[in-house]
């Protein structure tokens, strides 16, 4: 995943293609339905027809240098058609309004991704809502706070698919706020190691072998592409 985290410049088509073969693949960026049409499907109707709006996911997770117009327009969405094989399950369509300064031309994604169709792991697939008007009138359980305990409880309760649960969260699915690598984790893995190899397999536990991993990681401090208005930039001054 280091590749994903370390992009600080425009990725080449080759790099995008490489990224999309990782398990965080930017799957299904191939648009099959215009976003307007997708939006026009009311949720209940969608449920009735067996279509599920899949969750938006945060593009910054994949391309942290992309600067969106605002937080909300950052995500990709799509529909999932249950019962079909995974290759046709996720069809997404962009709802991204990128800045002119955005380093990544959108066509590059389209060009690079058709080889990848599988539903990516690590991408939110339960229903993510960003507008109050999308929230239904009544749920079985309403959970205030999508944090450590709230999400755990929501996970347990929704194991029963008859139980409808809403979690209300103040924050966002934000990449700029969470630090994905801890300070104290060393990675015995050269920067250019085969991504299919598990990082748990150190090449060696000698310092010299670990050093490239540290150096590599030290350049991985997540960039902060988000605007101040949409993300925290650090702890408040005391």
């Amino acid at each position: 995943m280091e590749d994903r985290l370390c992009l600080k410049r425009t990725p080449s088509l080759h790099e995008i293609a490489k990224l999309s073969r990782l398990e965080y693949a930017v799957a299904g960026l191939l648009p099959s339905l215009p976003w307007e049409k997708l939006q026009a499907i009311p949720r209940r109707a969608a449920d009735h027809h067996g279509l599920h709006l899949v969750a938006n996911f945060d593009l910054r997770l994949f391309f942290p240098h992309i600067v969106p117009e605002d937080n909300r327009e950052l995500s990709y969405s799509g529909i999932r058609i249950p019962g079909e094989n995974p290759s046709s399950e996720l069809r997404t369509t962009p709802r991204v309004a990128m800045h002119r300064q955005s380093a990544l031309p959108f066509w590059a994604l389209l060009f690079a991704v058709p080889s990848v169709f599988s539903l990516p792991r690590g991408v939110e697939r339960s229903t993510l809502l960003t507008k109050p008007s999308d929230v239904e009138k009544t749920y079985d359980y309403v959970i205030i706070g999508g944090g450590t305990s709230g999400l755990t409880v929501a996970d347990r309760l929704t194991e029963d698919n008859r139980t409808k649960v809403l979690v209300i969260e103040y924050g966002e699915l934000s990449a700029c706020f969470f630090k994905v690598l801890p300070d104290s984790v060393g990675i015995c893995k050269p920067a250019d190691a085969d991504p299919s190899r598990q990082a748990t397999r150190p090449t060696s536990c000698e310092w010299q072998a670990a050093l490239p991993g540290f150096r590599h990681r030290s350049s991985c401090t997540p960039s902060r592409p988000c605007r101040r208005s949409t993300c925290e930039t650090g702890p408040p001054a005391s």
Binding site: E2, V142, L166, I187, L211
Partner: protein, 269 residues
């Protein structure tokens, strides 16, 4: 608020404003409190309360999937652990770095010379002392493992809705029963008249807004010390003097020191 026992110093309390809450921003250290701490909590309720070490341990196990450290790494610094304190069914992982500074071994050996210092078998054993602790980390991707990745990202449930960017302003009551919640979009908060949305809970409202905002929201909703609520012109639903009081956080002390001797890695970067 000035802390009397800190010579009236004030400190910031950091909380995670993101899906995943503070599990998205913590230091990724997987460390439990001690047995004594949890038993003290339990005794606030009764001598046989389940909020005790014994009562909580099954849930600690359930909360995390434990991955043992790489054998070669473990051997390189004599790491010790005891998997019996851990579980393997959770979507949230705790695992180990694939490199340990060799000097760590020397530091631990030095602790062994200090009288009275215990060496518990595991960071999750409930005993204070010197121990190795794992990290909230997915061992495969070497990235943070937390409430979002473990309890949201990998679910595919149309009955599981999450709405983000919304501030809950009030818990709604019918008598003394919570029946719903009202909230406003964070993006609309600075506007003149933010639109309030309400949602009804057929079964329960679950307050999981953290150690800071849970009591705050209770107070705003009319549950808290009567005098305080009255002074803020909040109608009292329930007079509970303890709500919003006695906040405790765990202190952390770090010691930094220089070694006179030359420790590995003795390589200039």
């Amino acid at each position: 608020m000035p802390q009397v026992n800190l010579r009236n110093r004030t400190t910031s309390v950091l909380i995670g404003k993101a899906v995943g809450g503070s599990s998205a921003v913590n230091m990724m250290m997987t460390v439990r409190g001690t047995e004594d701490d949890y038993n003290r909590w339990g005794h606030f309720f009764s001598n046989s309360s389940d909020w005790s070490w014994k009562g909580l341990l099954p849930y600690f196990r359930k909360a995390l999937t434990f991955h043992a450290p790489d054998a070669a790494v473990a051997k390189s610094v004599n790491m010790t652990w005891d998997a019996s304190y851990w579980g393997n069914t959770s979507g949230v992982s705790t695992s180990w770095p694939t490199y340990q500074y060799p000097a760590t071994k020397a530091v631990i050996d030095a602790w062994r010379e200090v009288p009275g210092v215990e060496f518990p078998p595991d960071s999750g054993s409930g005993k204070p002392g010197v121990y190795w602790y794992p990290q909230f980390m997915d061992p495969k991707t070497v990235t943070r493992s937390y409430a979002r990745t473990g309890h949201y990202s990998n679910q595919n449930r149309p009955n599981y809705h999450l709405v983000t960017g919304q501030k809950v302003t009030k818990i709604l009551f019918d008598g003394t029963t919570a029946t719903g919640v009202s909230f406003v979009a964070v993006s609309a908060l600075k506007g003149a008249a933010p639109v309030t949305t309400t949602v009804t809970a057929a079964k329960e409202v679950i307050l999981a807004a953290g150690g800071i905002h849970s009591p705050q929201l209770l107070q705003l909703s009319g549950v808290g010390p009567k005098d305080l609520l009255t002074s803020a012109k909040i109608p009292v639903i329930a007079n509970l003097p303890g709500v919003g009081q006695n906040f405790q956080d765990h202190p952390m002390i770090q010691a930094t020191f220089s070694c006179k001797c030359r420790l590995p890695p003795a390589v200039s970067p």
